[in-house]
Amino acid sequence: MIRRELIKFAGGAATGLAFTPLPWRLLGDSAIWTQNWSWMPRTPRGEVGEKEANCTLCPAGCAVKVRTCGGTPIGVWPRGEAMCPAGFAGHTLPWHPLRLRQCLNRGRVSSLEEALEASRAAAEGGLAVLDMLPGRTASLLHRVHLSGIANARYIPAPQAEGGTARAMARLAAGSVQLSAELGRAKTVLSVSTPLLDGWAAPRRTAANRGFTLWQAESWRSRTMDLADSRLLIRPGSETALLLGLARQLLQTAGVERRARLLQGFDQLQAAIAHAAPAAAAERTGLSEDRIAALADALLRGQPSLVIADGDPLGGPLPEDARLAAAAVNVLLGAEAFSTRREPPVPKPWRCIECTRLEQVDNHSIGLLIIDEPAPGLALPWAAIAPKLKPEGALVVALTWNRASYARRADWLVPVPVYLESAADAPPPPDTGSWRIAVSPAVLNPPEGAIAAADFVARLAGAEPDSAARLEERQKLAGEEELEAAPAPAFTRILPAGTDGAQLAAAAAANLEGPPVAAHGWRQASVSPLLGKLWQEWDLRPAPGAVTSHPETLRGLGWHADSGARLESEAGQMQVLLEADPTAPSGIIALSAGPAYAQICEAAPNGAWRLKNPKVVRS
């Protein structure tokens, strides 16, 4: 009986509720709630402003404007010029998930003072600063401050960029700095260099680039896709191609006459003697006619130039390939090269000389300071490690992130990143005309971050004043009159370093191990947003992707579409194996990323290589 009454009561209550606003309000409010979930981010509110800046994430130093809301950057947009995809996500770098925000001593949270103290103690064993992005004002300041410390060295990272120009400078008498000016070239041969994808400033390589591009490479890179003529060569045959090309060029009357004026012509000729057309064709996999056509195009489309720098993350090309490219440039007259004028240095700054990494004695560094200001810079650890003292050497990484040197360095010290402090970009590789591309400080750096130059200054007992010094230099640059850079008289250049026998041997050398074409997009690690290009779409290869022809993968016993570990003698990295029927067979294209630098070694000829690589399924 009671149960029945209760049911009636409940029935009445339910009927009543339907005639009150409550159920309808609940229905409406719950729907509005789905539009206002507490875990959804709120967009910022505040005044929207704009600041002029330059992107300092790479040497291109593109002119940008930074949009801000309430003082926080909310976007970077081009200021008249072109920008690369990474530039548009550059303002998110301060919040990168891998961003280093505290001093870490072997994983333990520590303080800047402690890091300085430990560094001072270790500096007595011989101090060296390894600059991963040379050419900035901060790089100059390192040299200024190091001049106050005994037995200190400044080591610029041997960059992939400018490799050909540097090889030419080495051929040249004196210490002239050279620069390949894409803007002046009509025909360009790029040998295994990502010429249109990160090598030069985006504004030069976009549409209407103004030159005809021949791309010689062993896999279908993005530059290869965009090139006017594509030369798919066998891996490691760059030197053979260039020497074969030189031989073709020499058969042309005018060229030979010019070449005969060269001192050291005999050596070059000796090298070329081994590069018979048939041999070059066989090594490269191209037909003799194709090489002849290339030579013809380079001669007809003057000014023409050859770039053989290699990939910034896959490593430079071997020294002999760079020298051979330099020789070809000389034969072509090198009209698109100009002497490079470095941005000015205030007179009172006393800088110590640069020491090349290969000039550093083994076991001679007691304290190594690595300055890694921007994402995507890489140098094989195997090239650095032998230089350290076997015992008691201390490695301090002044770095933006907790990934790249975290396993190697004893101390990780956070530095301000792009837009967190005034900084400048190093001079770009593709032009001899210079400018100082400065980005101002828009955001505050995290508590405990210190500019790398200021860290070294404090080590030297000097005032940390990098911001003021940059301003000083900027002011000086504004006052300097720019002079037209004269084209050097290359016909008088002596190819002193050209050892014909060595070149010939390199051209004929056998390859070791599976042919790995390592490549990388340096800007890939600027922001997780860039994952849209490879994770949420397949426009670019994902970092760590190994792409190969299905047959080739099968031949190696590797299984496509599976995660795996790539192991070498130096270490291991996670890779994803992908089969691509359009890929050239016999090649393994590895989208390297900075992780690659941790597992490869620097060969005596300067190229990076994997020693005994293995793929292990994970």
Binding site: L27, A31, W33, T34
Partner: protein, 423 residues
């Protein structure tokens, strides 16, 4: 106590399985339901990434099964129509069962839909801000209304229960309601017609998808009418199949051979009509509609597994053959033939729904795009399992405690008498 209660609710004159066995049966399906409920929770609380659907396969397993289930549930309205409007008395034997099946299919489909959309809390927007041009709005309205009709149709079956009819007033109410059944059957038929059609129209109107797009009559593409036809063709077959299945599981005879024959005959006739119309439509589409929109017919059938065989199987093997078997009286008199043909008819409708949902999603429209495959995640299977389990449970309880097959009592009595005579 429990078993006494159980006995008190079981209709008079029928035999039901022991309570323990029924309990085991219910427990089994409750288990299936629980797993599916967890999967549904994941999708609702966490997001639809738990499914394997993606920006290409925006509709996955669920929509395909929704469409199938609703097509098969069409037996409910069509039987009601035949019984109450066209006065086919022999169908009284299955009408209650058909109503319960319909209720299960439609309510299950609604539940699945609620999980399948990204923002179920906003589902009522469709009623408040409807887009009159949208087939989906039409579907939503018709299905909700029809579900309401099915609930009303279910009430008399429920109230006829031995315990409930004891309560004063309920019997009167039931009686009054029953008199109105003709009206509800008509309303139900109308609503069903529209939403079956709109479900077909759902894909037929996709003018951006030449594989699905059909021209038609007024605002309705031809698939609108084909869906109605195929649903009413498969509906009676499905009722025959389920009744047979219930007979096997419960080990009882539930309906007479006549009833089977009627169901099969109707199904067969409708199927033949459907096959004819479908063939004409297909020919027109392949030769006229699709090429006019820049898609020559062969382009649809040059992708991997989706060859022309789907078309052949759908129309000939699972349409024409069972149709012929079902309209031929001597053939359908053989129970295995009848059942096989009914099964084939249901499978044909299922394949048709598959082609229209999954294959439409799979075929690329952009000339530089490629075919992609899709396999549902366990959550999708489990969620569907939950709906099946829910259906089995509702049906099991209805079968045990309500009178779903009015002929059962008679058939049982005859069987008992026969057995006692034999003894």
């Amino acid at each position: 106590m429990v078993s006494a209660l159980d006995r008190a609710w079981i209709p008079r004159g029928v035999v039901r399985a022991p309570l323990t066995r029924f309990g085991l049966w219910v427990g089994l399906w409750l288990g299936v339901f629980a797993v599916g409920a967890y999967a549904m929770y994941l999708c609702l609380a966490d997001g639809l990434f738990h499914t394997n659907m993606d920006n290409r396969y925006v509709f996955g397993l669920w929509i395909f099964l929704d469409l199938t289930v609703i097509a098969l549930g069409a037996g409910a309205f069509f039987t009601g129509f035949l019984l109450y409007v066209l006065r086919k008395k022999e169908l009284k034997a299955v009408i209650n069962s058909a109503v319960v099946l319909g209720l299960i299919c439609y309510s299950g489909a609604m539940v699945i839909l609620a999980v399948d959309v990204g923002q179920p809390l906003r589902a009522w927007f469709t009623y408040w801000y409807p887009n009159a041009h949208s087939m989906l709005a039409e579907v939503t309205f018709c299905i909700t209304c029809y579900l309401l009709v099915l609930c009303i149709e279910y009430v008399p079956i429920l109230l006829k229960n031995r315990r409930l009819r004891g309560i004063g007033g309920y019997l009167v109410f039931e009686h009054e309601l029953h008199k109105l059944m003709v009206v509800f059957a008509l309303i139900g038929t109308l609503l069903s017609f529209f939403h079956q059609g709109s479900l077909g129209g759902l894909f037929g109107v996709l003018r951006g998808r030449p594989f699905a797009f059909r021209e038609g009559f007024a605002i309705w593409p031809s698939t609108f009418f084909l869906f109605i036809l195929s649903a009413i063709a498969a509906g009676p077959s499905f009722i025959a199949l389920t009744t047979w299945l219930v007979e096997k599981i419960s080990r009882r005879r539930l309906i007479s051979a006549e009833a089977y024959d009627t169901l099969a005959r109707i199904s067969g006739k409708m199927l033949m009509l459907y096959v004819l119309m479908k063939s004409l439509d297909t020919l027109f589409w392949l030769n006229q509609t699709a090429p006019a929109r820049g898609f020559p017919a062969h382009r649809f059938y040059e992708f991997g597994n989706f060859g022309g065989w789907t078309l052949f199987i759908e129309i000939v093997i699972l349409g024409l053959l069972p149709g012929l078997a079902l309209i031929h009286a001597p053939l359908r008199a053989k129970r295995p033939v009848l059942l096989a043909a009914a099964l084939a008819a249901c499978a044909g409708v299922t394949l048709n729904r598959f082609v229209l949902t999954i294959q439409t999603m799979a075929l690329p429209t952009l000339p530089f795009d490629r075919l992609m495959s899709y396999w549902p995640s366990w959550q999708e299977f489990a969620a569907f399992g939950a709906v099946v389990a829910y259906g089995v449970l509702v049906y099991s309880f209805s079968f045990r405690y309500l009178t779903l097959f009015p002929q059962e009592r008679e058939l049982t009595r005859a069987e008992l008498m026969q057995r006692s005579q034999e003894a």
